[in-house]
């Protein structure tokens, strides 16, 4: 690289690093002085209550008028569409109030379902990303793992996982109650109740959970779990025995993920660190940097350690060797699909668009975009400066690292915070990939441990630093009044709550994943034979090549 280009990149890198920090330190503009009162203003008249009789005269378009069509939409949707409980009485205030309530819940249902569908679409992003980074001889196997985890994970989650995670969450007001999810198993420690797992909701039939609100919650939580479950397939690609993958993924969806998700989101002990121990608003994780990504990333690390590196990944002296991705087009397409799906992941985690501060969905979506942009920029610049080229796969990883990191804080930080969080994540993922490969000598072909594990943990910590205390989701979070506020805005205890969450992820979730993977290794064997690996897993494991008309190198 020419010296002038290098200097230009260095300056750009420094400006991008310092500008957000400078902005974050900028003092807030002084509030404008209130205009002086010039004359006494008479108090407004008291509002007149609306009576049922007032509704009797509400104009309704005639059937004849509507029969001619409604090209400008002025006739469709009127008082005659409000459900009347008693036709003899006609439209009443009670009918209107019920309709308003149902409209609010309907808006929230539709919002949560559609964002859930977006998150489901992320499975395609993961499939393309991982397959593109693998070699062509493993493409069928990699795609099948990404599709298989969707069905296997969902089935396990329906059987037991959802009940463990959400069976004791209590009423979710945005979804109209979810009252049947009311039984959390607790133990007492230090004189305080420690919620450990939920007990209602097995098969979505148990204890009254055949309920419209519960169904919406299940769909949304299921696709989140499946996002976590698909992360280890990236780290284990090109050498994971398909049968072992099925059993390990089942255990992940049934136990590993739901346990931590219960502690963080289902009314468990981490969520109650604020009410029980005075630590901020308890462990906070708005959309799952910890619950989804760090759980997935740490499970990926456990599995990758047990599997060992691919043949040819390290020289006999232990030096890492480059194994080229077979299709960068798939990789970048996958990254962009994931970024699109993230607009379901983060804004959807309000579980509603109406009421309880949910209009913050705009801010959450913008934070998501900004962090992905700065994550991509910083990773690209880092690679350009360090390795002379803006490497495509690491730029893609930086893009995803920014998204992973902003997932937890997206609901609680301002745009400047989001920019900094994404920027740090982009550099962090590059450093982490090098550390995992060169120091740990763990083979992670797609960088799943670094993107989801390392940057997921950074996201959890960054919330404890950058939460600005301006969000308000119904006046409280995790049962503690007030807004979530991080260290830089005055609450150090929130950072401690976040670190307790990180310690639980590293100390407990990793261990549980490792034990499950270890037992499966003993019983089934996690790794394919060397012969299958050299041949490529498509034929030995799946019985068909992804690209039968290509000439493959082994």
């Amino acid at each position: 690289m020419k010296n002038s280009t290098k200097r230009l990149l260095t300056v750009l890198f420094a400006v991008l690093c310092l500008a957000p920090l400078a902005l974050a330190q900028a003092p807030a503009a002084a509030p404008a002085a209130a205009p002086a009162a010039t004359a006494a203003v008479p108090p407004p008249p008291a509002p007149k209550p609306i009576l049922d009789a007032d509704l009797a005269g509400t104009p309704v378009p005639s059937a004849d008028a509507h029969a001619k069509g409604d090209p400008d939409g002025s006739l469709t949707g009127n008082a005659s569409d409000v459900t009347v409980s008693d036709p003899k009485k006609g439209l009443t205030i009670g009918d209107l109030a019920n309709q308003v309530g149902q409209n609010k819940i309907a808006v929230n249902f539709v919002w949560t379902l559609i964002t859930g569908y977006l998150v489901m679409f992320m499975q395609l992003g993961f499939a393309l990303l991982e397959t593109g980074l693998a070699r062509a001889k493993n493409a069928n196997h990699t795609m099948m793992m990404n599709m298989g985890v969707y069905g296997i994970g969902m089935f396990a989650y329906w059987l037991i996982g959802f009940a463990i995670q959400m069976g004791g969450v209590g009423a979710v007001a945005n979804l109209g109650g979810t009252a049947p999810l009311s039984a959390e198993f607790t133990a007492t420690l230090f004189g305080k109740p420690f919620g450990l797992f939920g007990q209602h909701g097995l098969f979505l039939m148990h204890k009254g959970t055949y309920d419209v609100g519960v169904m919406v919650l299940f769909l949304f939580q299921m696709v989140f779990m499946d996002t976590g479950a698909t992360i280890p397939t990236g780290a284990a690609v090109e050498r994971w025995k398909f049968s072992a993958f099925i059993v390990t993924s089942f255990l992940f969806a049934a136990f590993t993920y739901p346990l931590f998700a219960n502690w963080a989101w289902g009314g468990g002990w981490l969520a109650n660190l604020g009410t029980n121990f005075g630590l901020g608003k308890g462990y906070c994780d708005f959309a799952g940097s910890g619950v989804v990504h760090a759980v997935g990333g740490l499970s990926a690390l456990a599995i990758a350690m047990i599997l060992g590196p691919r043949i040819g990944k390290f020289s006999r002296e232990g030096r890492p060797q480059v194994i080229l991705a077979h299709d960068i087009v798939l990789v970048i397409t996958g990254c962009l699909i994931l970024a699109f799906g993230w607009f379901g992941f983060n804004p959807g985690s309000t579980l509603g668009a109406s009421g309880s501060g949910n209009l913050r969905i705009g801010s959450i979506a913008v934070n998501t975009m900004l962090a992905s942009a700065t994550g991509m920029i910083s990773a690209m610049l880092y690679m350009w400066l360090m390795y002379k080229k803006p490497d495509a796969s690491m730029t893609g990883n930086g893009f995803l690292a920014g998204l992973v990191a902003i997932t937890a804080p997206s609901g609680f930080v301002n745009p400047v915070g989001a920019v900094i969080i994404g920027f740090v994540a982009g550099v962090l993922v590059c450093l982490s990939v090098a550390f995992v490969e060169r120091v740990l000598q763990v083979d992670d072909p797609v960088g799943a441990v670094s993107v989801h594990g390392t940057c997921g943990i950074w996201g959890v910590i960054s919330l404890g630093l950058f939460a600005d205390g301006k969000s308000n989701y119904g006046g409280a979070w995790n049962g503690v009044n007030g807004s979530v506020t991080g260290l830089f805005y005055g609450d150090a205890s929130q950072l401690v709550a976040q670190l307790v969450g990180v310690a639980t992820l590293v100390g407990f979730v990793f261990t549980l994943s490792f034990i499950f993977a270890f037992v499966v290794d003993l019983l089934v064997g996690q790794r394919t034979s060397a012969k299958s690996e050299l041949e490529g897993l498509d034929l030995p494991e799946m019985g068909a090549l992804a690209y039968p008309e290509f000439e493959l190198k082994s």
Binding site: Q441, L499, V500, V502, V506, G507
Partner: protein, 61 residues
């Protein structure tokens, strides 16, 4: 070695949870949680991973 690694990783988690009951100061809890994290990370990277690297496929030639 594998069992030792698992136990150390879990011990770090236990230390972090104990911080909630042992002290009520934010600084004290922060220190204990960081110690717990360090112990867990040592268990994973210093013990468990090393145990697996002993028999790594690239060392077998």
């Amino acid at each position: 070695m594998i069992l030792l690694g698992i136990l150390l990783t879990l011990l770090g988690f236990v230390i972090s949870v104990l911080s909630l009951g042992v002290t009520s100061s934010v600084g004290g809890r922060l220190a204990m949680v960081l110690v717990g994290l360090a112990v867990s990370l040592f268990g994973i990277m210093g013990v468990l991973n090393k145990a697996y690297l002993k028999n790594a496929i690239w060392k077998k030639g």
